[in-house]
């Protein structure tokens, strides 16, 4: 006699029932979280745009669809307007291959496409402690200061590595050998440093050529 629950039919039926229950549970979870996830992605993109173009008024970004290129890694870039509706700059989306991941970086340039207003790395999975430092914000004061209440927890500033791009034009980025002379590289992470800088420079250069015709 076969033991109950050991026939092939039984196996198929039980597994199918478990899968069906799993499907229901996942469908429910997806339904509950979907809006929230989309909202998070939207606000993340908005935050990135506001960091690279700080003077732009809220929500004054217009998406422009173009074929994928060095300045539109996902097939789009953004025009930014100030309160009076004047075009003040563009936000470009660049992409570079780092040491262990694809690095995505949003670049803000002024309306003439000359000066970089700021950059923000929106995705990277580089080595923690080396390449990942490109996103590390240095905190002033020590843990003891914070615990003893000497220093209030301040809102996050921007990472030092990304701040050094602010206010520079393309002539600033001079590559000698495989190193950018004016960029303070990340310790032990030349590949990440170069990947970000290359991507930023290529994005701005190509944007000037193709869109601004300079």
């Amino acid at each position: 006699m076969k033991k109950r629950g050991e026939s092939p039919y039984n196996m198929v039926i039980v597994l199918a029932l478990i899968c069906a229950a799993a499907g229901l549970a996942l469908g429910g979870t997806y339904h509950v979280t979907r809006e929230r996830i989309e909202e998070q992605q939207r606000s993340e993109r908005k935050a990135a745009l506001r960091i690279v173009l700080p003077e732009v008024s809220k929500d004054a970004f217009r998406e422009v669809s173009v074929p994928k290129s060095a300045f539109a890694a996902e097939g789009k870039y953004y025009e930014a307007y100030d309160d009076s509706g004047r075009l003040v700059g563009y936000a470009l989306e660049a992409e570079g291959t780092g040491y262990s991941s694809t690095i995505r970086v949003t670049v803000g340039v002024d309306s003439k496409g000359e000066v970089i207003r700021g950059i923000k790395i929106t995705f990277q999975q580089e080595t923690p402690g080396l390449g990942a430092n490109c996103e590390v914000v240095e905190v002033e004061g020590t843990l003891w200061d914070v615990l003893s209440g000497k220093r209030e927890k301040t809102a996050a500033r921007e990472p030092k590595f990304q701040l050094q791009f602010r206010g520079k034009n393309l002539d600033y980025f001079v590559k000698v050998g495989n190193k950018y002379q004016n960029i303070d590289g990340l310790t032990g992470a030349t590949i990440t440093t170069n990947a970000v800088t290359d991507a930023v420079v290529a994005a701005v250069r190509e944007f000037r050529e193709k869109v601004l015709r300079k």
Partner: protein, 201 residues
């Protein structure tokens, strides 16, 4: 009293990481900061709780020969739920844990507890077992992350510990993970075996 033993055994005597040597890959990879380590520990504990309880509840109907696929479906469901909730409510943590959240599916601890404990014990015992094992896993991650973040970055929770301390970057890098876990494993095994006489030939 016995229930208490189930809960406690995962923490020290049968610590999944230091004694059973399971789930080492995520432990080594996500223990570069206390925040990431804690997040990973909690995520894995949640999956462990869910899978242990469900597997134990349906242990009567799971056909023996098809048990592994059944377990995997249950585990993968909980992992996906965790992933969606992380993306919705803790996007920063989700980004820094990256690939290691979906990889909880293949974390040996979870399948091992489903196979060797939950499929043979009551729902309540399995719940306690999952809690103990999950805490043990989280404890391991926190210990490792504490050592690695404080020595390798000179920070705790992102704040500097001692002004002017030059951190030893190697501790944050993969070799440092192996060095640290080796020493901690040595300590836990010494603790487990101390007082016992060992026969040598």
């Amino acid at each position: 009293m016995r229930k208490w033993q189930i809960l406690k055994s995962g923490l020290f005597k049968n610590n999944p990481v230091f004694i059973l040597y399971l789930g080492l890959c995520p432990v080594l990879a996500t223990s570069t900061s206390i925040r990431d380590g804690f997040g990973m520990g909690v995520a894995a504990t949640f999956v462990l709780l869910g899978s242990n309880v469900i597997v134990s509840a349906i242990r009567g109907v799971i056909p023996r020969r098809a048990r592994i696929p059944c377990f995997i479906v249950v585990i993968a469901t909980f992992v996906t739920i965790v992933e969606l909730f992380l993306a919705a409510y803790l996007p920063k943590l989700n980004k820094s844990l990256g690939l290691f959240v979906p990889l909880i599916v293949v974390n040996c601890i979870i399948l091992y507890r489903a196979e060797s404990f939950a499929s043979k014990n009551s729902v309540f015992s399995s719940f306690l077992d999952a809690l103990g094992m999950g805490f043990g896993f989280t404890l391991a991650l926190l210990l490792l992350a504490f050592v690695r973040e404080s020595l390798g970055k000179g920070t705790l929770l992102g704040y500097k510990l001692i002004p002017g301390f030059e951190p030893a970057v190697i501790i944050i890098l993969p070799p440092g993970a192996f060095l640290t876990i080796g020493l901690l494993m040595g300590f836990f095994n010494w603790r487990k075996n101390r007082g016992k006489t060992v026969k040598c030939d």
